[in-house]
């Protein structure tokens, strides 16, 4: 741990429904905008299967019928982040840093570049040479996308973030034109290595590279204990108080 570095609070969440995490992000951003929450923080989670469409996207990039989608049980949600269509599901590391970029003195393009760098270094730890592609932001292994980025900046605070494929199922990506690009493939650490990869190990590695590229210390916090006043108005807190979710009691 570097004692001169700034602290970002790390909140690890369980497998989380997209809308719950979205509401939580918006509540935290609003709390920061009101000046009630000064900390920068990082949400780390996995989503239940979902397609999301960013502001640059549309349903024209869905290659399957609405009926097929309905039968798959995977919802499609339109959101305010940058970028086009993508898929999230278990086995994909999703990281939502909620950072006051203005206060941190980080330009948005530089921020995107550093998020890419954290993913590139994580892939390198498994011996995979991933890189940037002028075609599209995110990180690539050859012509296949390994990690994606989509952000919104509201009152100087960035939210949404990155999605990094560890051992997520890849077939739903073939039902869309990922990022709105035709003929783009998607890959994962597991696909590249042709062996199982531990999601926990990948998450720890990604977090340590986030610390490195942003020169911060990630300090773990518990959402329910430490941020209750900011989330009590969201549906998320209901999830926490339900019997089905007990990590807050641990």
């Amino acid at each position: 741990m570097n004692h001169n570095s700034k602290t970002w609070l790390l909140i690890e969440l369980p497998l989380t429904d997209y809308v719950e995490a979205w509401n939580l992000q918006r509540a935290l951003v609003a709390a920061k905008a009101r000046g009630e929450l000064h900390d920068d923080l990082v949400l780390s989670l996995q989503h239940s299967p979902v397609f999301t469409i960013g502001r640059r996207g549309g349903r024209e990039h869905l290659k399957v019928t609405e009926d097929f989608l309905k039968r798959s049980g995977i919802p499609v949600i339109e959101v305010e982040r940058g970028g086009n269509i993508t898929f999230h599901g278990p086995g994909q590391l999703v990281v939502y840093p909620i950072i006051d970029l203005e206060a941190a003195g980080i330009r948005v393009d530089e921020y995107v570049c550093r998020l890419e760098e954290a993913m590139i270094r994580t892939a390198a730890a498994w011996g995979i040479s991933a890189g940037r592609n002028p075609l599209n932001k995110g990180v690539w292994v050859g012509g296949n996308k390994l990690g994606s980025i989509g952000l919104t900046i509201r009152h100087g605070v960035s939210f949404h973030g990155l999605a990094f494929n560890v051992n997520v199922r890849l077939d739903p990506f073939s039902w869309i034109n990922p990022c709105g690009l035709d003929g783009v493939g998607v890959t994962s650490l597991e696909r590249e290595l042709s062996r199982e990869v531990s999601l926990t190990a990948a998450r720890e590695r990604l977090m340590s590279h986030i610390e490195e590229v942003f020169d911060v210390n990630l300090v773990q916090r518990n959402l329910c204990h430490d941020f209750q006043e900011h989330i009590c108005m969201t549906r998320y807190s209901e999830m926490y108080s339900s019997d089905s979710y007990n990590s807050c009691n641990s």
């Binding site: 393009d109 995107v112 100087g156």
Partner: protein
């Protein structure tokens, strides 16, 4: 990143907390984003505009400026009705980077309450606010 003192801050406009500028032109107000805001975002690839005739209150979101993968929301420096939008930005969103106070303007507004203009920051106040963020 540029030093705060290197940003162009003309004194014929007023500035909002969210880095929009407003320029009084007769009884209308022209609106854009500051040199700091365009620099912070990087190369702008798309500007999401309201429609002519749309009405917004002060601080309400009226559009977006986007760089690849990042959408930055725009907030009204002053409440009013949109009289014109800068249609040139549809073809050339990079004008916002090149000439934020000139050809990169965003919208022209008929203000509901011209007094709101006086609540905005002067060049001096805005320069101090930027220095505070440095």
């Amino acid at each position: 990143m540029k030093k705060m003192s290197e940003f162009r801050l003309p004194d014929d406009v007023r500035y909002s907390e969210d880095h929009e500028w407003a320029r009084l032109e007769g009884d209308a107000i022209r609106v854009g984003i500051s040199d700091y805001a365009q620099d912070q975002l990087g190369d702008i690839t798309f500007v999401g505009m309201p429609n002519v005739g749309d009405a917004f209150s002060q601080k309400q979101e009226f559009g977006t400026v986007e760089s690849t993968k990042a959408v930055s929301e725009l907030f009204m420096p002053i409440g009013g009705k949109v009289l014109e939008v800068n249609e040139a930005l549809e073809e050339s969103p990079g004008l916002v980077n090149e000439d934020p106070y000139g050809r990169g303007w965003l919208i022209l507004v008929k203000p509901d309450n011209p007094d709101e203009f006086n609540s905005l920051m002067t060049k001096g106040d805005y320069a101090k606010r930027l220095k505070g963020a440095e």
